[in-house]
């Protein structure tokens, strides 16, 4: 799909010296390729998205640093929904079943992916996990990515939306430090706002400014899991997205997250002149 997008390409910058370089003995040919390096992952992600769309399930990819409150947010969300939406969760961590156990304790099916030392989920891991979940009848599938503000942004999982959390103790300049991650978000949640009176260094305005500067154009909600207007706004966003996904699926439309982190340019074949 992205074989001839003709993206803009700069001058050769680095050449990796490899140990045993062999002189070319036979005939040498140059093959022009131009494909996204993560083409195979993207293919599996598209397949996952088809699964979700066939079942009219909204798939959300939750990303943040470790400890920003992804699992706590899910626990509070499941409790607040009180069964209004049917939810399942895929949990990604390097080790332990702890997070899946916490979700199951809320009465919701959960599959734990333990990645070993891998720093991110990829589309194949999610594909295998989803086979262990009953998708039929679900409204929302939350995919809680490995806590990490770097690597998960590069891998499409088949989600419809990226939700990125920024917790107050992390500091309001996190988006400036990790621009790729925050730019990939469709919704930014500023979590643990009940700590704002104690962490006076954190300015919600500065956080919003930093998000804008990395090209984030989505909605920002400030919330605490203990309830309040922000938490209600998050639930309202969720319910709006579920309705929108049902309508899209019914009309056969497909949705991708606002930015394909691995390179929007690679997926707009035809919109640019090939070079």
């Amino acid at each position: 799909m992205c074989r001839d997008c003709g993206c803009s390409l700069g001058p050769a910058a680095t050449r990796a010296p490899l140990a045993a370089q062999l002189p070319a003995a036979g005939r040498v040919e140059t093959i022009e390729v131009i494909t996204a390096i993560l083409d195979e992952n993207d293919r599996v992600a598209a397949h996952n998205r088809q699964h979700f769309d066939a079942q009219r399930v909204l798939a959300l990819n939750l990303m943040s640093s470790p400890g920003a409150g992804k699992t706590s947010l899910l626990e509070a969300t499941i409790r607040a929904l009180g069964g209004r939406l049917k939810v399942a969760v895929v949990e990604g961590d390097l080790a332990t079943e702890n997070d899946a156990d916490r979700i199951r304790a809320c009465g919701v099916p959960a599959v734990q992916i333990t990645t070993g030392n891998a720093c991110h989920l990829d589309a194949t891991m999610v594909h295998d996990a989803v086979h262990d979940l009953p998708l039929a009848g679900l409204d929302v599938l939350f995919i809680e990515n490995v806590g990490n503000l770097v690597c998960p942004a590069s891998f499409d999982l088949g989600q419809h939306r990226n939700v990125t959390l920024l917790s107050v103790p992390e500091g309001d300049d996190k988006p400036a430090k990790y621009p790729v991650m925050f730019r990939a978000a469709d919704l930014a949640l500023i979590t643990k706002t009940d700590l704002l009176p104690y962490i006076t260094e954190f300015s919600v305005e500065r956080a919003r400014g930093a998000l804008r500067q990395v090209g984030f154009a989505g909605e920002t909600i400030e919330l605490t899991n203990r309830g309040g207007d922000g938490f209600a706004a998050w639930l309202a966003w969720l319910e709006r997205e579920v309705v929108a996904q049902r309508e899209r699926a019914a009309s056969g439309q497909l949705l991708r997250p606002s930015i394909q982190p691995e390179g929007a340019s690679a997926h707009t074949a035809g919109s640019r002149p090939a070079r």
Binding site: S8, L9, V28, E29, V33
Partner: protein, 120 residues
């Protein structure tokens, strides 16, 4: 450090190209990487030999073309360069810009050796 995963995906693609073109081995690989792709060129270079070991691309050179970030302003129309964490127009300072380059993570070109060396 997801660069090893990226390199393994790269090698998978290069192996496919080599297979489709009856290559005996891969001589060189050219990829393009922008800072907004989320991968680091230096780490890719370190991860590449590990991913390439034992494959048809084991002895290939990897050339990484770094693609700088470019934005086009929706207000004034200027196309300027920008820092990854400051995607604003370099001409008028507006933050409503479209990224036109810098997100690339592409395999561009593969040089392969096809025929066996002539025997003298």
């Amino acid at each position: 450090m997801h660069e090893l995963s990226v390199c393994q995906a790269l090698i998978g693609q290069v192996e496919r190209v080599a297979r489709e073109n009856d290559a005996r081995r891969v001589v060189s690989i050219v990829i393009a990487v922008g800072p907004l792709s989320g991968v680091e060129a230096g780490l890719l270079e370190h991860a590449y030999p590990i991913a390439a070991a034992g494959t048809v691309a084991e002895h290939a050179t990897l050339t990484i073309e770094l693609v700088p970030v470019q934005v086009r302003c929706r207000s004034c129309g200027a196309e300027t360069s920008a820092a990854p964490n400051r995607l604003v127009c370099g001409a008028c300072g507006d933050w409503q810009v479209d990224v036109t380059a810098g997100e690339e993570m592409l395999l561009k070109r593969v040089e392969i050796e096809t025929e066996p060396a002539a025997v003298h």
